[in-house]
Symmetry: D2
Subunit: 336 residues, 4 copies
């Protein structure tokens, strides 16, 4: 039994961490911090957690006596608190973008912050970094779009079959967070599809850096907001350098993901649906069709709050502490 | 470990039964029948159950060697197959309307069938019939609207505080089943609210019969289809015969449901949300406000496919076999 | 050709006023005020009005040289500016609640404001006040819920057939205005149905006061927010004092609304849909079914921003200036 | 005043033709055919057209005495009836795919029909064929996706700035027609994004053939179904062959569309929204951003049932008969 704290527990990723940890036999949640909701029962903010006898507390990260702390804090805020948590002896899974980049200059260019704590961290995508995660003190939990995009691309990049990749992603609105804005206002989202940060989204360099370890590729990325609450559907358009078949491509994916507990490779022509993975830690990957121009299309589906955030964070925690990797994450998707 | 079969497993309630039984440590699913999908892997129809190594089979109910069979069959079809299942020695939880009524004439009047098997069954709402369910061979699983409406009304009816009840329910579209119709066509449902069977819905006499056991009431009921996939939000408008306070009413609910594992009573003025219970077996009940005319408003929220169907069916199974009542149903709602 | 100004033109009702006036052959819009968007082209806020060569201006109402001014201002703000507009010689259609009540004490009790300008105004529901509107200097445009509820109830109240009325309304989110809030945050609205102000909504006394002119009734009212952008579907549950038939009730409605340009009476059992009236000034009324308890159900559908706000305001303007009542409002609903 | 007939008037495009023609001062609709709804008032199927005193008739096309007939018939059916209509002396705007291709072999390859009437027709996209449309007897109304994609691409293709084009389109569900299917079943569409016909959609060769007239390009196309009722949002990803700026690209679009009544070019970085054009015949085009790989992104928005079908058909009719091109199409989008 380990003691776990959550810093920034009132947002959507905080709520999802609490949902999964509630089922976890090896974890006791000792603190859920929130400045705004100090003293308020957790269920007042996360009404699905009605029975949770836990209150938000306005604690300093260093005050939490825990074996691991999830920092569900904004970009730029994590780097201010992670050092003292590590010094206090707890491990950290950070859900912000602060520690995701090998190259701190890329971070600073795209996040417009001076990085005050450019230490090494392990990029927490278990499908590519499982062994490093097991030994890590600090894991940088991947971004939601990168999780869907990287998992969809790696096998074909790894085989050097492509060099130009266009990622056209469609995200549910929960990805924008719990705070109401003009963008998330119901009449603006509903019955609409809204491309945003069309050529300038901060997840582009993250996808680029991670894929570059597997092959020489140029990544273009455009996200869209769609009238969906949870889920990211990623459509990857990429041009094959060799004349291979869809079946051949699918085999590459089968081989790459054979042992993965949370990745499922669908048949050629089969399209993943968001409901297949809703609420779950699974990533479904399918399609593998090739058109008359040699364009290969790969489609992936994840729940942005789970495999794209809190579920993956718990998966990382399981690895870091030697728990079974799937513990508390067995739930399948909620369909329909 | 018991052996369980599902007759009519390709619909939404079949999929949800399979989802919950997948997590159940005391159950082995030995058969999932479907005429239409005979020989097809279950996951082709329920894509969230990707790892399930089970195929639909076109079996006759009597051919299934099971301790319990869920009959997720249409109204009128259950009564044709339940007798032979019972004779073969299996217990039954029937999800149709065929065995829900004490008075078979009411059934025949509202369902427009001659009942060919008017035997006794236990109405499977554990909150009112727990002990009878434990001993039952045949449990009639309640309708989705009645579950939300009866749970919202019983305490106040039981106290003889009201005699006129107007139930205005709003249901997600999954309640209409898996088969596409004009009513469930996306452009007709989306951005619309559609009252239907306004004074003639078959769940009205079910609510009336069950509430009448607790007090002398006249029930009026109108369901609406809303652009929601899962969930029923029930607004009960009822007129108080005595001048009592909201706090007093809430106390009655607290007392009535204190020990219930799946009912949660909210505070005065607190409104349940569908996401609080989405995917879960919980029923949240709240509001308790009283207006200038003595109208008391009670609001309940359930997931129509879970507490309103398959979750409750599993809860009944747990009771019938002496398993812990909440086994495999611990999941909380998926919020947001 | 008259000159028209709009005070508070950046909200949804402002946008809709501009949309209708754009088509109006007798109107020139001379000013669209907004403090926040001063100097900004109107189409930056209302992107459907791309070709409109009009900018928002931060004008004082008294500075606008107009024959009529629409005050699309918040409750409490209208009463501060209407007096000076009237003094300057312009007529006013006020879209706030400030001038809707005959009894200023009711206003003060429900709106929690001291009324600083308790002058007479005409309640702008043409179906009951057409002649008074024609002569009015100041018209109080009705609330959105009252428009749908009053039109649904008047004929049967007028015939003294009922005395207890329960109005259960379902509103699209645009009714909450253009400003993002927790309530209108997409993940909170989507896949949800949310009763609010269950017994305390300010539109209740408005419905009560207007219906009381036609008969002695007690009105109970509960609104719900539904995942719809535009439209109000009103379900009226009322108990008949006499044993009359649905056909008889429908005839009463036919007679009452025979000459009305914007009200359509549907057949017995026919249910209005929101798409029938979306974007249009029509109100459809139907159902007229009666249940075993003598409960009569009436259902009405309007677009909350049109017949429930800006369309009706233009209809009032047409009457006030002797234009054909339907001018610029001929558009039918957008279905699907 | 011309006489107009609509063959296949009970579908969505039929309903929209009737909506626009209702406002048209030069048109009398003399027939709306439907086999299924013979004798039924039109408003029973298109409830927004409540006042229309027109009934569906099961007429043979040759029996309609009209100056122009819209054939809103399925692919493969139009070619069977268009010859006799033309022989009877009426002009035709055909909304199917039957006459859209210059090269009948491409049609036969992608539509899997033998073409029985390979006559010349004018492709009815006024922005590129206005003069030919004016003189045409038979106009092939463009597909919905091609309208959005071609308008978004032509200027940049015409300037020979690109040769590889990836069109990633997102369509509302009304594009799938009025007939309920598994794909359009609410629980399957809602909260989902579904790529379909990923590399094999019949609109791909249509886009390819028309763009090829303006430059040497390879078009890849993938449509997605999104939880939206009306509208197509098209994201064009294309790689610039020369190092030009966003401003330069926008100028090309300004120049190309300067005189167009229904195309609006937005600013660099400005994204069109579906509500801007909902219910209207407008096409908004914007974005023009260029990323680090020289990828240019163009985004267009149309209403699939209007500029993507019936509105454009009426625009074509206006041109064919010398009416003002915008007549009856002045309506702007319904926002929000």
């Amino acid at each position: 039994m380990i003691k776990v704290g959550i810093v920034g527990a009132s947002g959507y990723t905080g709520g999802e961490l609490l949902r999964f940890l509630k089922y976890h036999s090896d974890v006791e949640v000792v603190a859920a911090t929130s400045r705004k909701f100090d003293g308020i029962p957790v269920y007042k903010v996360h009404p699905n957690l009605r029975d949770l006898e836990l209150k938000f507390e306005n604690l300093k990260p260093g005050e939490i006596d825990a074996d691991l702390i999830f920092t569900a804090t904004p970009h730029g805020a994590s780097m201010k608190i992670v050092p003292e948590i590590l010094e206090a002896g707890a491990k950290v899974v950070d859900l912000s973008g602060d520690y995701r980049f090998d190259d701190v200059h890329v971070y600073e260019e795209w996040y417009h912050f001076k990085h005050t704590d450019p230490r090494d961290a392990v990029y927490g995508l278990p499908e590519i970094n499982r062994d490093e995660i097991k030994k890590a003190e600090l894991v940088a939990n991947p971004g939601c779009f990168p999780t869907g995009a990287i998992l969809a691309c790696i096998p074909v990049v790894n085989e050097k079959l492509v060099d130009t990749i266009v990622v056209d992603s469609k995200s549910g609105v929960s990805g924008a967070g719990v705070k109401p804005t003009t963008v998330t206002h119901y009449p603006n989202c509903s019955d609409n599809v809204a491309p945003y940060a069309v050529t300038k989204h901060r997840h582009m360099p993250e996808i680029q850096e991670k894929l570059s370890k597997f092959g020489d590729v140029r990544v273009s990325f455009t996200p869209h907001l769609v009238p969906v609450t949870r889920g990211i559907l990623t459509t990857v358009h990429t041009f094959l350098k060799e004349d291979v078949s869809s079946d051949y491509v699918k085999e590459i994916y089968d081989d790459f993901y054979r042992e993965e507990p949370f990745v499922r490779v669908l048949d050629v022509g089969e399209i993943p649906s968001l409901s297949s993975v809703r609420g779950s830690n699974y990533c479904h990957i399918g399609c593998f069709e090739i058109d008359q121009n040699g364009r290969l299309v790969i489609v992936s589906a994840i729940d942005n709050l789970v495999k794209g955030a809190s579920g993956q964070a718990v998966q990382n925690m399981n690895l870091m502490f030697g728990f079974p990797e799937t513990r508390s994450l067995e739930q399948v998707g909620l369909h329909p």
